[in-house]
């Protein structure tokens, strides 16, 4: 039998979902090419988890349609379940079972043996192999993450659905985790990953910015950032908070927000950095510095979320 060839590993068309009076998703459409890594970027409550629940066929959408691995999420929900590996937004393994017991249990759910598929998880699982009898609940955050990923991958899914996999994990483990995802992508796996960390977005092939249940924008991270224009400036002074308030009061400033150690200023039409810093000096601010900044996904997000 010829295998059905699909270019879109995930295809979502105008999906909506309502929980009571809350519109969790509104007319969401996007698609993920096979073998690529797609990022859903948005804050908590943006609707990411709802989208995952729909794609993993736990809940049905109110409107719209979607396919995963070429299979309809409503009609073929049983077939989809064998094709996807899902990692929920919080640690969802059995804390009182050991590393090995968890892994073998999840393998048995899919009717596969750990031995046959171990090669897929071996690159990152070797650290865990050292303590196979440690209870999952006693592992560190990064280790838990690896075990959860191992359990999600043990049946060799075609598509990996990761819902905020790096929330609550330290920076080193986060970076390691994304390295593991890159290795999996190279092996041809399609990955849909959501995150509220904007810096992680750059590691995806394509990203969708999502907020309030709607997709704000969608493209490669580079193009999204490039499309922002060059009206962004860093601003700093000795007293940051009064500076923020003062800048927000100026009519040339569209928006101003804290960004790391400095302020990001979205410049309006007649924004002149020299003139502004002179004016700020006159207002009593010391060490005023204003210089062009390179826009980031976070700036774009704030811009889009503000407009929406």
């Amino acid at each position: 039998m010829e295998r059905y060839i699909y270019e879109k590993a995930i295809d979502v068309q105008s999906v909506s979902k309502q929980y009571g009076k809350i519109q969790a998703l509104e007319d969401v459409s996007f698609s993920v090419a096979e073998g690529s890594m797609f990022g859903l970027i948005g804050p908590d409550g943006a609707g990411k988890s709802t989208l995952y629940r729909i794609l993993t066929t736990i809940v049905a959408p109110d409107g719209g349609r979607a396919t995963v691995a070429g299979l309809d999420i409503v009609k073929d929900y049983r077939k989809i379940r064998a094709e996807i590996g899902y990692m929920p937004d919080r640690f969802s393994l059995y804390p009182d079972l050991t590393v090995n017991e968890n892994l073998h249990f999840f393998a048995s759910l899919f009717g596969v043996s750990v031995k046959d598929n171990y090669d897929l998880i071996a690159p990152f699982f070797d650290q865990l192999v050292k303590f196979p009898n440690r209870r999952a609940g006693a592992l560190s955050g990064g280790m838990k993450q690896k075990l959860a990923l191992g359990c999600a991958l043990i049946h060799r899914p075609k598509i990996l659905l990761l819902d905020e996999p790096t929330t609550g994990v330290d920076a080193v483990s986060r970076s390691e985790f994304w390295d593991m995802l890159a290795v999996l992508k190279d092996k041809g796996m399609t990955i849909l990953v959501s995150t509220s960390y904007m810096d992680e977005a750059k590691r995806c092939d394509r990203i969708a910015l999502i907020n309030g249940g709607r997709i704000l924008d969608m493209d490669t991270p580079e193009r999204l950032v490039a499309g922002m224009g060059d009206n962004l400036y860093n601003a700093s002074a000795r007293d940051m908070y009064p500076l923020l308030l003062a800048l927000r009061d100026m009519h040339e400033v569209q928006d101003c927000y804290t960004f790391g150690a400095t302020l990001h200023v979205v410049a309006g039409a007649d924004f002149n950095p020299e003139e502004i810093s002179v004016r700020l000096n006159r207002m009593g601010f010391d060490d005023v510095e204003i210089y062009p900044a390179k826009g980031d996904i976070e700036d774009l997000f704030i811009k889009l979320a503000g407009n929406g």
Binding site: T56, Y86, L93, Y94, F105, G111
Partner: protein
């Protein structure tokens, strides 16, 4: 069916890791049975009694001998009349019998401490029967099924009715809800495993555990507590299994309506345990309840189970005498199964 086997294995691991719960679950039924069988009994034993004798004669000597020989009484000696009241007040004695001579015949008076009415009543009854012992009574009494009126006989069915609701319903609901809480239920539902396999994988281990407890309790009841053993035990076992299944389904149903372990505990505790203790006839006879509560007791599974167990275990009657109870329990099981499956599907 390897998925099913590994689900059961996983559940067994959960149970074994939680050694405290496991100990409680296995020890509690035995402790309860032994407690109610021996320590807590409604029989009245060791009634302390004194006698006031105005004239020593054959009748008085005979009565005192009888009181001495009777296992229910502890005879504390002969005292002058004026000491009786202080002794009763101090609680040194529970009853006094006063023998007086009235125109040649012996007259008896019983003074009893009725601050605990059941002890007072029973002691009076015992004493009357001791005094009347020599005479031929026009009423002949035969106590059937439990000739020695042992209260253990009464409590065994009651405790079984309570334990199975506790273990089956509470533990099943808590274990399913805990999977909901940790999110593992979502992972199970996202896997290709069918929901009915998930549910069976949750229920079967607790069914096995309940069978072990049933065996333990029956062993204690028939050996230590001395319940009459007969071939009727087969009926006792299968009616108990039916009740266990019903309790498991109740637990399943509870798990579909609540979302946290604490609520599951509260719901199965308050909604199941309390009515079982108060309204099932385990402690308070149903016949003594106000008629409204009698109707309420009809919806409590333990009421029917306890009544069936009394018929089968104590009266030793054949199964045709518990048809009503068995059909009510089966009907309840089907209804709860229907509700639970319906609720479970709505969640999907």
């Amino acid at each position: 069916m390897p998925v099913f086997i590994s689900m059961i294995k996983k559940e067994a691991l959960h149970l074994m890791r939680d050694s405290r719960t496991m100990t409680v679950v296995l020890i509690m039924p035995l402790v309860l049975l032994l407690l109610f069988g021996f320590a807590i009994s409604t029989e009245v034993n060791n009634v302390n009694v004194v006698a006031v004798v105005h004239r020593h004669d054959d009748a008085s000597r005979e009565l005192i001998e009888k009181l001495r020989a009777n296992p229910y009484f502890t005879f504390k000696g002969i005292v002058p009349f004026c000491e009786v009241e202080p002794m009763l007040r101090k609680g040194e004695v529970d009853a006094a019998v006063i023998l007086d001579c009235d125109k040649g015949a012996t007259a008896y008076q019983i003074i009893v401490d009725a601050s605990n009415p059941s002890i007072g009543q029973t002691a009076t009854g015992y004493m009357e029967s001791v005094i009347n012992g020599g005479m031929v009574s026009p009423v002949s009494v035969r106590t059937l099924y439990n000739p020695r009126l042992k209260s253990a006989y009464n409590f065994v069915p009651g405790i079984m009715g309570m334990i199975f609701i506790l273990i089956c319903a509470m533990m099943t609901s808590v274990s399913i809800v805990s999977e909901k809480e940790t999110g593992t239920m979502n992972l199970l539902l996202v896997s290709p495993v069918r929901p009915r396999t998930i549910i069976l994988g949750k229920i079967v281990p607790y069914f096995i555990l309940s069978c072990v407890i049933l065996a333990l309790m029956l062993a204690i009841a028939y050996s230590v507590l001395g319940l009459p053993l007969s071939s009727n035990i087969v009926n006792v076992v299968w009616v108990s299994l039916l009740y266990i299944v019903l309790a498991l389904l109740l637990g399943l149903f509870i798990s579909t309506i609540v979302s946290t372990q604490v609520t599951a505990l509260l719901v199965s505790g308050v909604l199941l345990m309390l009515p079982v203790i108060m309204l099932s006839g385990m402690i308070f006879p149903i016949e003594n309840m106000p008629s409204l509560l009698q109707y309420v007791s009809c919806v409590i599974p333990a009421r029917w189970y306890i009544s069936a167990m009394r018929t089968l275990m104590i009266q030793q009657l054949p199964v045709s005498y518990v048809v009503t109870e068995v059909s009510v329990l089966s009907g309840m099981a089907l209804a709860v199964l229907f509700l639970a499956v319906k609720k479970f599907n709505i969640i999907q």
